[in-house]
Amino acid sequence: MSNSIELRDLEKSFRLDLRLGTRRALNGLSLTVRAGEIYGFLGPNGAGKTTSIKILVSLLRQDRGTALIFGGDPTRNEVRARIGYLPESPNFYDQLTGREFLAFCGKLCGLRGADLRQRSDRLLEEVGLAHAGDLQIRRYSKGMNQRVGIAQALLHDPELVILDEPMSGLDPIGRAEVRDLILGLKKRGKTVFFSTHIIPDVELICDRIGLINRGRMVAEGSVGELLDTAEARPIEVAVENFSAVTDRSLAAEVSSVGSQKLYLVPSDEALARFIPTVLQHQGRLVSINPRREGLENLVVRLLEQDRPAA
């Protein structure tokens, strides 16, 4: 499978002021986004997410390293023609109406005439702004601004969609709509690369995620792969009609309701010994649930581990 995005050893520093000197925003960041996948780009504030995205759309230039989109340099127009981009907390030309703004963006991408009008109408409908297309953008709410931003990013039917915090400013229904929209893009074979702070959204829709901190990759992989690397957690085993006393290192009883008891088994090895014990004592297995660490906890733990030593 070919790659839509490749970042290799990207470095970028910003000059602050004479007293503070420079701040390194990217510190050897590398990542790969395969064609057709949804990639969630996670990281705390100031981790370098927006800086990386701005390099990808040629708003910033890296000090060192390589940024490639479809194998090409994003500073070239023909490469950027294949990208749709939504900036973080976007602001648009507020004297234009939503429809005029889409017409403007479409023309910059080479669209004209009836095709442009049809696409604008369809996208305004898709992002829930059909009723507000002729309203000036200065009258839009934050959520409406975000929606017209998503519409302009998709207008020219790009192969790669880069969204910087697309869920920000949206209510729960809006977030669900954007999630559906992203999933719809994947179904149509598009690649979606988006940054977010909202981990449940990532867990729901991403094929792979990358977690960055202090300008470099901390963890990358599918949600399943990352959770498999999570710390070993006890397994919950519910049994019925089992009253034999067990070694606590094998299984610890945590609750009891009627004839049903809940045990926490510390590992797979312990489980392999505990189940025969239950069956030997005529107990009945009700359920076995591995208690995996959630993505949110995993992210917090990885970031804490990555904290610089004091």
Binding site: V57, L59, L60, I83, P87, Q95, L96, L108
Partner: protein
Amino acid sequence: MNVLTIAAQTFTEARRNRVFYSLFLFALVVVLSSIIFTEITSVTVDRMLKDTGLAAINVFALALTIFAGVGIINREIDRRSIYTVLAKPITRLSYILGKYLGLVSIILATSTLMFVGLLVVMKVYKTPIHAGIFLGFLGVLLEVLVMGAVAVLCSTFTTSFISAFICAAVYLSGHLSTEFLRVVRKSEGIRRAVGEAIYYLVPNLERFNFKYQATYDLTVGTTTLLAVVVFALAYAAAALLGAVVVFQRRDFR
């Protein structure tokens, strides 16, 4: 094509801007009220009309250019509206040219409306309309072309406030450059070299001042006129080239 798209968007944004709109209406009223001066002065009506009318158009055309021009790029950077545009498949050169074209078109359109207003007043007062008045207006337009490019250049690297200050300084020194050179040539050494460098850097805006010809219905030779037009276009092109060079290197944090 992208240049025209950006120019059209810049034109529309400015046209719908209430402050710009108010300034334009105020300017139109001032131009039309040049009638009042004709009532309170002993100078002949037609001379007074042309003098005050053209001066008012000049002042307001420049005010509108500086008002709309000094923030034309940096305001978009501050508001982050530029991110969406520059991520599209357009060159930064097209963006600068589009912004400049949009700016000068709105100023030329409003100046032309004011000028038409002046011609109507002249017609009402039965003042003869000669080529001189058109020459005077051409001078205003050329000055707008040059000062618009200076404003765009400034707005690529500094704030609106500082841009406005630089533009005002360029305007004033541009009208006083001949006197400035006379003073500079009296000095010697490094002072003279620096002074002469400033003289050649700042546009000599007096070249566009045809108000004397407008008032007294005079004309200038074709060669002189052509030289002035070429000078205006060349200076504007140089300022825009500077803007492109600065803008190409800019990071948008």
